[in-house]
Symmetry: D2
Subunit: 285 residues, 4 copies
């Protein structure tokens, strides 16, 4: 499953006979070897999706030339990720720091191989955490309504533009984003929601879970889209709870699920294992 | 955890000092021993709930007399279950038989120590299953709208009245019950819903789960109340799914979760481990 | 994931460039379409394993001719399973019937699409279960030591030979098999062991789990090999336990795990999703 | 479940009638209220164990006097933990820092309410982590055999004596401890082992899990005793793995299980929820 020195090709297109053979032939022709491959055909939408790890002494110029022909022939969307580049990541958070702290610790320990280029927050709380990990901190605070809100949103958008990351992780960033931002970062912005979606979308999910008396609570990592908490789901986790658990116990237990679910989703994205179609994800784990 | 030869006392009342001591003293005074006890105080509602397993050569007459005094003093609701009685259970189902078949197999194998007094169904499909297990079968079919529906509901209600079970298990009985029935069997009717409630309440949860692209599916066993799929939750189970799973795969995988979640809830109920307050359950597992 | 009308090709061979392309080309050349494909290269042993679902108007004669060439070229082991054949299964059990009962119920309900050609047992207990499901029952009883044991083993072996099933499921058949039998049915005999292997291999795992005070118990479905409980693992399941659970509670909770783990393993095998190499399994789930 | 302002009484003794009533009466007599209580009677060993959370305006002098009488009468072992004291914790680790880093982050975020008085390690790697969190660092390095080993062990023992913590957490401290140390810190030293014990006790569990081809890997937090990896188990966690996972994938996936399992065990210990008898734990979670 290690992909360190491998190129990763992802592609999707309308299903038809011959795609697998054509792609495999191209890879063989340019000197590559298929180290791993995973594919899926969605029956309802007749979409073909594939992820291939390639090693060997590949002639990449010839490969990209051949790939362009396949893209035309099969109406493919495709992305090629060659080894050796580290993704640049922005973490966004508000007052609750446990998800951001967890991701930073994973980066420090080498578990996530990325550059965290900044922590962006609408609250000052994360400043110390950023300093502790030697990461630049951007405060983009402001009100939640009217002009103040618009200004805050513009500042947040501007910070992202300037930082120009490969991925934005909303690690408990507690603001609803305007459609300009969700569109701009479509497929490159991951949020962690502290419930098992679609249950308890929106505010205060742990309070509502407690009131409903559920026996399991969960967390959902998803790509951000215009509709709140409705984007393509990348990963979900759950943990059992009981009548003994007050809201604050759900919060505490939920934190562990949020942390690991978010970290898992970020890793899957960084390894190019997540393909999106039809507001759903194909996760080649 | 085995309770075969033990009496079980359950009680709930507004919380106040002295309840535990008073109950423990009563049990000691009448010659009983507390084999197991579990209690919970709900902070928000200030309700005290307790389940006690009692053994020893108890003077039950003296116990019940003393209990009446405690009931008055503490405004208790309480139930005493002495060993030696087998609960009488009605299974209700429609076309899908896997939950009913699972429960019947568990009864055959001695895993659930009850008498299944009848299978009641709005479809003929379960007739053979009932015969296979030597259980009486009652067909209460009829239309889903207007008079035909009212007639069917009346027949279902009448069948339950006549059978007079201790517990009704809706093992995939695919009809929405009128309030007269849900009220009548309040706290004695368990339903299995094939989703992780409150997600996907109502019809076709697996289809909706597939469309939403969730990564886990679940099942929920709950007491039936007037509001559809909104009663107190007894048990929930989940299983992971992926993009590879079509709707029919979710159905297949969900069946195992439904079966074990329902069987678990029925067992918990039969062992008097489930107390209800405020539309939530306290499960002394 | 449904494979009802699809042919399934499984293959494994030493890894080398060109395998995927060669197989894909063959399928395309004979008019087939790759509906699904999954592959794995084991880094340590440099073994390539693949499972392909094929649909379309395939010229099977041409396909098999072409496949023979690939088998030679790549030193492949390969199996082609064309749709339309139902596997013939023998269930073996002893006194505990819950695994056999569960599998039979799944067959009755159409969840497992096989013919159960017989229940073979060293105890009479399963006779009634067999009758209930209309399945022939073979009693092959006998002592556990010396000649009596040898005789019993010979009778069991003879029954299997005569029944000649595609798959033998040891659904709690509580005898240690001689190597002649494990060899004869290598890769076609699945056992359920009531522990999370390699913990508690051998006798009385629930007693030993209780004594050790574990917080989770499990079950393991594996292909049977000469060494007891050491064959390739197909599936494992677990369930949490606590200090409240006596041995009999572990037995009860474990039953649900055993049932679902065994049924899952049997289904994976029947769908040709399990490839074995190096005493490990590749499960293309 | 929150115990912040509550006293916690734990006790265990040979089971006999009257214990619950006597303790409840004592608490009521001195002005206390039982906020929560949990009890267990182990059938095999006839041991009674109980944990009680007490609030109210308690006369603690009278309580302790009364408790001494109960201790005599019932041959009890008992501990009273009054609110307001923070436990002093030593973290021990070697080269792998993820468990120590996780615990320190939880302390920083207020999830674990303790003072980490030092990180003690046989490797210099943790020095920077200690500095980052403002925690004193003690290097007690030395060889693994003969005199060098004895010296290292003596230095480790001396460090613990001097620091005199309430709890020692072996957060991947990769040395086998001599019996003097395990005895000295009996019941106050928690280790995380990176397997689902009793499977893969000892060295290199992930390598052995990979070789055995298991489908789930786990982690076990336990009190340290003289016998390696054989102490009372406090908590266990698992995560699914597949044929795609190389040893390094097991290591990565296992880390998340280790972290959360260890943190969970530490919290349970700190909240006085873990009672030990007969090399097993009673976890009043």
């Amino acid at each position: 499953m290690m992909t360190d020195n491998l190129a990763v090709l992802t592609l999707q297109c309308p299903d038809q006979p011959g795609i697998v053979a054509s792609v495999a032939n191209l890879i063989a022709d340019v000197g590559g070897n298929i180290a791993n491959a995973d594919q899926h055909t969605d029956r309802d939408s007749a979409v073909f999706l594939q992820r291939i790890e390639i090693d060997g002494p590949v002639d990449w110029e010839a490969f990209e030339q051949g790939l362009r022909q396949l893209i035309d022939r099969f109406s493919m969307q495709s992305a090629l990720h060659r080894p050796g580049t580290r993704d640049r990541v922005v973490l966004a958070c508000s007052s609750e720091l446990y998800c951001a702290a967890d991701l930073l610790t994973r980066v420090s320990l080498g578990e996530l191989d990325v550059d965290v280029v900044a922590i962006v927050s609408d609250k000052p709380a994360a400043g110390q955490l950023a300093a502790q990990h030697g990461v630049p901190f951007r405060l983009v605070d402001g009100g939640l309504t009217g002009d103040a809100r618009a200004k805050q949103e513009a500042a947040f958008a501007a910070a992202l533009e300037e930082l120009s990351p490969d991925l934005v992780v909303l690690a408990r960033y507690m603001r609803i984003l305007p459609e300009e931002i969700t569109k701009r970062w479509n497929g490159r912005m991951i949020n962690i929601h502290h419930s098992f979606l679609p249950a308890f979308a929106g505010a205060k999910p742990y309070h509502r879970a407690h009131q409903r008396g559920v026996k399991l609570i969960g967390a959902t990592a998803h790509y951000v889209t215009a509709e709140l908490d409705a984007g393509p789901i990348i990963a979900q986790g759950i943990t059992p709870v009981s009548h003994r658990d007050e809201v604050e116990d759900l919060v505490r237990k939920g934190r562990d699920v949020e942390r690991s679910t978010l970290a898992n989703a970020v890793r899957l994205h960084l390894e190019h294992r997540v393909l999106v179609w039809d507001n759903r994800t194909c996760v080649f784990a």
